[in-house]
Amino acid sequence: MLFEKKQNELTTMLIFSAIVLSMPIWLDPIGANYPDLLQKFAIFGIFAIGYNILFGLTGYLSFGHAIFIGVGSYTAVWSFKLLTMNVIPALALSVLLSGVVAVMVGYVSLRRSGIYFSILTLAFAQMFYNLAYSVLTPITNGETGLQLTTKDPRVIDRMFEAAGDGLPSTELFGISMSGYSGFYFCAVMLIVAFFLSLKVFNSPFGLKLKAIKSNQHRMKYTGYNTRPYLLSAFVISGMFAGLAGGLMAVTDPLAGAERMQWTASGEVVLMTILGGVGTLYGPLLGVAIIKYLENIFSSINEAVLYTLFDFLPVWLQDSMVVIVMPFVGEGWHLTLGLIFMTVVIFLPGGIIEGFQKMKDRFSKTNEQEKLKQGGE
């Protein structure tokens, strides 16, 4: 695992890119092929990949990463309002600004470890959330959320052409970022994010982060100043979250404070743990599963359930609908909770661990057969 050659990195990247870019094709049979959902996969994928660099490698559990999603979103929308509808400056600023905020939040929170660190990040998350509704309303536009208007200056765009009649849409040098082009843009960003994460995992820097998670005490007496390592990991993950936040604004140019609510931070924790914390692919798997199931379960309503249980006698059909109803639609989080509990109890290492176990079992039987053959 550790000493993967350069070639392996290249192969990994090629396979990964192929899988991501062909999502519209292979997700079609399970009904997940529409840009909205695909974009969600990619955006939350970036969020989770980044989060995993902090939580997965160093073990520091942050409940505040939605802050950076929020900062990224607001920054991108402001860039759309003031500068240009081009997404490149918007995303660059999102990443930069969320990085700056991450330095501040991380610098304070990382003075403590374990549960105290988590509480500090949670406190920051609530603080930013409340600020967005109060003091910062001139920037965040409070409860309405920050939106584009026809009166926005868009200085850079105005240099080239006059304002159109309606609201402009986000674009990349003329390509509109809606529908599939939006998805492909997010997908490329996801591939870049994954590449960076792969580099971190395979670097001495990544190894040291894992060592900090394993035994920070030892690290200090081994000659490492652990604080800057932790802060770097925190800022990297914050910038990934900022990119994800920016992309949310790219695909839908408005920003609201609810993106900064602590539940949004909690969601990424769930995704990472469900897939497999500290593994390269686990968080992505977690994102795909949660977002896909959310999409399915939350769209089921009473009428759908009645058709689903149509084959049953009426009295049984009624009771089945009553039983299942709390788990779908608005109540889909109940289902998520059950899935999460099952995975954590039976596979503490996440779904990736499940795959690993199956692979081990498979290779073990293979080895035994080989031994048998050798003995004969």
Binding site: S203, K210, K220, Y221, G223, N225
Partner: protein, 253 residues
């Protein structure tokens, strides 16, 4: 006249009115294995903890190659060339043996902080070779990719020793390297300590087991009730009446 690597001067440490270290003065010569022995509660571990910066002493100074280490951060003291093996094995249980040794090797090579995430670990060939050669010197080169946490206690302690050795420290502190080990395990560690003695590295060993002390030490200091009561060669210490008094008569007070 041989060179002094570590000079402990007038060190005092009090815990809630209890004098743990009482005016300790000690000089450690370069290239020697210096053992510190003494009954339980004599202040041996306190002394080590003061040296590596885990505890702050009330007075005095600890000069390492002429530089005061008191008040410095642990990582700074390590970067000066001072490594320590703890009483309970402090390793990275979730990492492989090779990784366990590579991390300290990288610390020696890169310093206390380096943000180099685009460089692949696989390209750190010389560091990997270094780590493997140290692991093979302790007889673990065949399990490079095993998880450190799955090893026996004795192996964990030897791995921790390897993690210190790979840094080629100027001074190595060993806190009871054989505590809690079975006899054959202890002998294995003694052999290892003898083997690394030839390298000429200066070492301080704190140890209960007199068998270990007399097998490896060049010089012995005896600590009793926070004070050094004798320092000398193993033969001198064996025949010293004050030492016998401290060990045998300590409980009569």
């Amino acid at each position: 006249m041989s060179e002094t690597v570590l000079k402990i001067h007038n060190v005092n440490k009090t815990f809630h009115g209890l004098k743990a270290l009482n005016n300790v003065n000690l000089e450690i010569e370069k290239g020697k294995v210096h053992a510190i022995i003494g009954p339980n509660g004599a202040g041996k571990s306190t002394l080590l903890n003061v040296i590596i910066g885990l505890l702050e002493s009330d007075t005095g100074e600890v000069l390492f190659n002429g530089e005061n280490v008191l008040g410095k951060e642990p990582h700074e003291i390590n970067q000066m060339g001072l490594a320590r093996v703890f009483q309970t094995p402090e390793i990275f249980p979730e990492l492989s043996l090779l990784e366990n040794v590579m991390v300290p090797a990288l610390a020696k090579h890169e310093g206390s902080f380096k943000f180099k995430f685009l460089r692949s670990l696989a390209s750190e060939k010389s560091i990997k070779e270094d780590a493997i050669s140290v692991l093979s010197s302790i007889g673990m080169s065949d399990k490079l990719h095993n998880l450190a946490g799955s090893m026996s206690r004795g192996d964990k302690r030897r791995l921790e020793l390897a993690m210190c050795l790979v840094q080629h420290p100027k001074l190595l502190l060993l806190d009871e390297p054989t505590a809690g080990m079975a006899r054959h395990d202890t002998n294995k560690t003694i052999d290892l300590l003898k083997k690394i003695k030839e390298g000429g590295m200066t070492k301080i060993i704190i140890e209960h087991d007199m068998h270990v002390v007399f097998s490896v030490a060049d010089k012995i200091s005896v600590l009793a009730r926070g004070a050094i009561i004798a320092t000398g060669t193993p033969e001198e210490i064996k025949g010293n009446p004050i030492v016998q008094e401290a060990y045998l008569g300590g409980s009569h007070e």
